[in-house]
C-alpha cells in the first residue's frame, strides 16, 4: 500500500516538475537575499562595530527610531564593512548608506559610486562651525565632497603615569631619545618592559608609531608631489639608527616580533608595558574592565625628533557615504537620515558615548573635553597629519602603507641585522614597484 502511494507520487513527471519548481524557488529565494535584486525595497545602512559599544547601540537606536518615525523599513547592520563593501562596489549591489573611513574613501571614491554630498557637507559645516582642516582636506576631491566625516581618531602615547611618577619622572619625555632612555630606567623585565610597540607586520599600529617617529626625524616615504619616492635619505637613516638603539637598549619584550594588532593594547592593559602608541581603545577597556587603573593612564602627544618637531596621526574613523543606488527616494531619505545624525543633540550625545573627537569644530564646548584623556584626542584631531604626508592621501600611498614599509625597515634593522642602507634599499624598491602601477 505504502509502496503504491509512493509510486504514484514519484513519477518522473513529478520529479521534473519538482526540479523546475525547486529551481524557481531557489532563484526567488536567492533574489531576496541579494541586496537590490527582487527584494522588497528597504533601506540598508552598513556600519562598523567600534570599540565603544555604547555609542554603537545609541547610533543604531537613533537610526531605527528615525525609520519608525518616517515609516521606512530599514536594516542597520553592525559588522565589519570592509569586505562586503568591496563586493558591493564590484557587483553594484550597494547599500543606501555605508560607513566609510579615510582608507575606504581613497579606495572607492574613484569608482564613482559615492554620491556627491557637497550640499550636505556645506549644510552641516555651516551648522557646526565648519569641519576640522585635516577632515576637510581628506574628503574634498576637486572641490567636492563624496563622504561626510563624523569622527577623527589619532594614535597617542598612552602610558603608565603612576610608574613615571614613582620613578620621579614628572612629565612624559618630549623626545623619542629621552623617552627610550626614561623607560629603560623604569622597566622591570621580564614582567614589565618599557615600550609595547610591535615589530611585526601583523601589528599595524606600529606602522603609525614608526611613521610618526620617522616624520619627527624629517623622514618621509614620498615627496610633496605625492609621486616621487623619498625613502633613501639621511633623515630616514637617522630614524632607523635611533630605532635600532632603542632595540639594543632592551625596552621591548622579546615577543614583539610576533605581536598582532591587539598585543600592544594587551601589554598596557595587563601591566606589561609602560608606554604604547595607540588610539583610545585601551582607555575604553580600562573604563569597562579595570576602572581603578584608568586614572593612572597618562596621555601625551607623540614625541619629537632631534629637530624638535612632533607629529600626530590622523584617522577619519567614522564617516558616511550615500551610495549611488539609483533609487532617488532612498537617496532623499538617506540625506534626511544624515541630517538626523548630524543634529545637535544626536551628534553631541554620540560624542559623549564614543571616544574619538568629532570632525566638526563646533563641539569644543562639550563637557567631555574636561577629561584630559579625551582632550588629548581632540587636540590631535585638529593638527594630525594625513596619510601620505607631506603629499596627498593617494591610492598608491595606501597600497604602500598596506606593505607596512616602516615596520619592514624596522624589522630588517633590528631582527635581520641589516644595515639601514639595505633596509631603505628594499623599501625603496617596494615603493617604486607599487608606484609604477599608478604613475607610468
Amino acid at each position: 500500500m505504502a509502496h503504491g502511494v509512493l509510486a504514484r507520487r514519484l513519477t518522473r513527471r513529478t520529479i521534473l516538475k519538482s526540479t523546475v519548481l525547486g529551481a524557481f524557488a531557489l532563484a526567488a529565494a536567492g533574489c531576496n537575499v541579494v541586496p537590490g535584486i527582487g527584494a522588497k525595497s528597504k533601506m540598508l545602512v552598513w556600519t562598523d562595530p567600534t570599540f565603544a559599544p555604547a555609542s554603537d547601540d545609541y547610533q543604531t537606536k537613533v537610526i531605527e527610531d528615525w525609520a519608525k518615525e518616517k515609516g521606512v523599513e530599514i536594516e542597520v547592520t553592525r559588522d565589519p564593512v570592509d569586505q562586503k563593501l568591496q563586493a558591493a562596489v564590484e557587483s553594484k549591489q550597494l547599500p543606501d548608506i555605508s560607513q566609510v573611513d579615510d582608507g575606504r574613501y581613497i579606495k572607492y571614491q574613484p569608482s564613482g559610486m559615492l554620491l556627491d554630498v557637497s550640499d550636505l557637507y556645506a549644510e552641516f559645516g555651516k551648522a557646526w562651525g565648519g569641519f576640522y582642516k585635516p577632515a576637510e582636506k581628506t574628503v574634498t576631491k576637486q572641490g567636492k565632497q563624496f563622504m561626510l566625516p563624523y569622527s577623527i581618531d589619532s594614535s597617542l602615547m598612552l602610558y603608565r603615569n603612576d610608574i613615571l611618577q614613582e620613578g620621579g619622572v614628572k612629565e612624559f619625555p618630549k623626545t623619542w631619545n629621552e623617552m627610550f632612555d626614561t623607560v629603560k630606567k623604569l622597566q622591570k623585565p621580564p614582567d614589565l618592559y618599557g615600550c609595547g610597540f610591535q615589530f611585526n607586520k601583523d601589528g599595524t599600529d606600529a606602522e603609525a608609531t614608526f611613521g610618526m617617529m620617522a616624520l619627527s626625524y624629517g623622514a618621509t616615504l614620498v615627496k610633496e608631489d605625492s609621486k616621487t619616492i623619498n625613502v633613501k635619505t639621511p633623515e630616514m637613516k637617522a630614524f632607523l639608527t635611533e630605532l635600532k638603539r632603542s632595540w639594543d637598549l632592551g625596552v621591548y619584550a622579546p615577543g614583539v616580533t610576533g605581536w598582532d594588532n591587539s598585543a600592544n593594547n594587551v601589554s598596557l592593559q595587563d601591566g606589561k608595558a609602560i608606554v604604547i602608541h595607540n588610539p583610545a581603545s585601551p582607555l575604553v577597556w580600562f573604563r569597562n574592565n579595570k576602572p581603578e587603573m584608568l586614572p593612572k593612564i597618562g596621555i601625551a602627544g607623540t614625541p619629537a625628533g632631534p629637530t624638535g618637531k612632533a607629529y600626530n596621526t590622523f584617522y577619519l574613523r567614522d564617516g558616511f557615504a550615500i551610495m549611488q543606488t539609483g533609487k532617488q527616494a532612498n537617496i532623499d531619505l538617506s540625506k534626511d537620515l544624515m541630517r538626523k545624525l548630524y543634529s545637535k543633540d544626536v551628534y553631541r550625545q554620540w560624542i559623549g558615548l564614543a571616544f574619538p573627537a568629532p570632525a566638526v569644530a563646533g563641539m569644543e564646548d562639550h563637557e567631555v573635553w574636561k577629561n584630559p584623556q579625551r582632550k588629548g584626542f581632540l587636540d590631535a584631531a585638529k593638527s594630525g597629519v594625513l596619510t601620505g604626508y607631506p603629499g596627498e592621501p593617494t591610492e598608491a600611498y595606501t597600497e604602500l602603507g598596506s606593505r607596512t614599509p616602516f615596520i619592514q625597515m624596522a624589522i630588517r634593522t633590528v631582527i635581520d641585522n641589516w644595515s639601514a642602507d639595505q633596509a631603505m634599499d628594499e623599501v625603496d624598491k617596494i615603493a617604486r614597484d607599487i608606484y609604477s602601477k599608478y604613475y607610468k
Partner: protein, 307 residues
C-alpha cells in the same frame, strides 16, 4: 494519475518518447550539480584567469595588459621566499601528517580499550573550523598570556616567556604544528579504512612464516595502503599548499617575512588593496603545479576504477 509506462508514449504527451523522457530526467537530475560546478568553480576560475591578464581594480573597468602582472609579481621582493616557504611548509606538514596519521590508524586498528571513543576523539581536530583552530593556537602560543608559556613558567622550566610566534624558527614550526594537528585525522581515518580492507589472513600467514612486526608493516601494510597513501598525500599537498587561514591568523607572514606564503600575497593584493588583476595572477602562476597534481590524481583514480 498513475505512472506512465515507459513504452506508452502516444498523443500530445507522446511526442516525447520514453527515451527522451529518460534523458530529460537525467538532465534535470544533473542540473544542480552542473549549476554548482559552473557557478562556483568554472565561472569564477575563468574570470580569475581573465583578470590575471588585466589591470582590474575593484569598482573600476579593466583593460587587457598581457603578461605585465606576471612579470610584476615575479620581481616582487618576497615572491621567491614565499614560494620556498610554501614548498617547505607543505612538504614538512604533509610528511608529518602522513606519519602521525599512519600511527593513529595502526593504533586504532588494534583492539584497544575505548576504541570507538578514541576514534571519535582523534577525528576531532578535522572537524574544528580552521579559523577557530587558528585563534585557539594563536592564544596557546601567545607570549604574553599564552597557555604554553604559562605552563612552562609555572613549572619553573623557563624564566621568561618564549616568543613562539616572534622568532622565525619557532613561528615556522608553529604553523607546521597546527597544520599537522588540523590535518592528521584525514590521513588517520583514510589509512584506518584502508587497513580494514587488508585481509587478516595475510598477516597470519606472514606471522607463521616468521615475519616480525616491522616486516609485516613493510611488506603487507604499506603495499596494501599504497593507493590510499598516494591519494591522501596528493590531496593534502593541494590543500596544504593552498592554506591561507592558519598562516594568516597565526603569524600574518611574520616575524619579518619568515612565514610568508603565496596565499598571503593574494590576500594582500586582492582583498586589502582591491587589485584583483595582480591578486589573480599569483594563484594562476601556481596553477600548473596544482594542475599536474590533479591530473596525476585523476588518472590514477580512473585507472583504479578501470582495474
Amino acid at each position: 494519475m498513475s505512472a506512465t509506462p515507459a513504452t506508452a508514449g502516444t498523443g500530445a504527451r507522446g511526442r516525447l518518447t520514453a527515451r527522451h523522457r529518460e534523458w530529460l530526467l537525467g538532465y534535470a537530475v544533473i542540473v544542480p550539480a552542473f549549476a554548482f560546478v559552473f557557478g562556483l568553480i568554472l565561472y569564477p576560475a575563468v574570470w580569475g584567469i581573465y583578470f590575471a591578464f588585466t589591470d582590474k581594480v575593484i569598482g573600476r573597468p579593466e583593460k587587457f595588459v598581457g603578461l605585465t602582472n606576471f612579470f610584476w609579481v615575479l620581481q616582487w621582493p618576497d615572491f621567491g621566499l614565499m614560494i620556498v616557504n610554501t614548498v617547505v611548509i607543505t612538504v614538512l606538514a604533509v610528511g608529518i601528517k602522513a606519519i602521525v596519521g599512519m600511527t593513529m590508524a595502526l593504533v586504532l586498528n588494534e583492539d584497544i580499550p575505548f576504541r570507538s571513543a578514541a576514534r571519535a576523539l582523534m577525528f576531532l581536530p578535522w572537524t574544528v573550523p580552521s579559523f577557530v583552530a587558528g585563534l585557539i593556537w594563536r592564544w596557546l602560543f601567545d607570549d604574553q598570556n599564552g597557555l604554553f608559556n604559562w605552563g612552562l613558567l609555572n613549572l619553573g622550566l623557563i624564566a621568561a616567556p618564549i616568543p613562539w610566534l616572534g622568532r622565525p624558527a619557532t613561528a615556522f614550526m608553529a604553523i607546521v604544528v597546527v597544520l599537522v594537528w588540523k590535518g592528521f585525522p584525514f590521513f588517520g581515518i583514510s589509512y584506518l579504512a584502508g587497513l580494514q580492507a587488508i585481509s587478516t589472513e595475510l598477516y597470519e600467514a606472514a606471522q607463521v612464516d616468521g615475519a616480525n612486526a616491522m616486516q609485516r608493516f613493510r611488506h603487507i601494510t604499506i603495499p596494501g595502503l599504497q593507493h590510499v597513501i598516494l591519494i591522501t598525500v596528493l590531496l593534502s599537498t593541494i590543500w596544504t599548499a593552498n592554506t591561507f587561514d592558519l598562516p594568516f591568523i597565526l603569524t600574518g607572514g611574520g616575524p619579518g617575512n619568515a612565514t610568508e606564503v603565496f596565499t598571503l600575497l593574494t590576500y594582500q593584493l586582492g582583498i586589502q588593496n582591491g587589485r584583483v588583476g595582480d591578486a589573480a595572477t599569483v594563484p594562476i602562476m601556481a596553477m600548473p603545479f596544482f594542475g599536474a597534481l590533479i591530473v596525476v590524481l585523476t588518472r590514477y583514480m580512473l585507472s583504479r576504477e578501470e582495474a
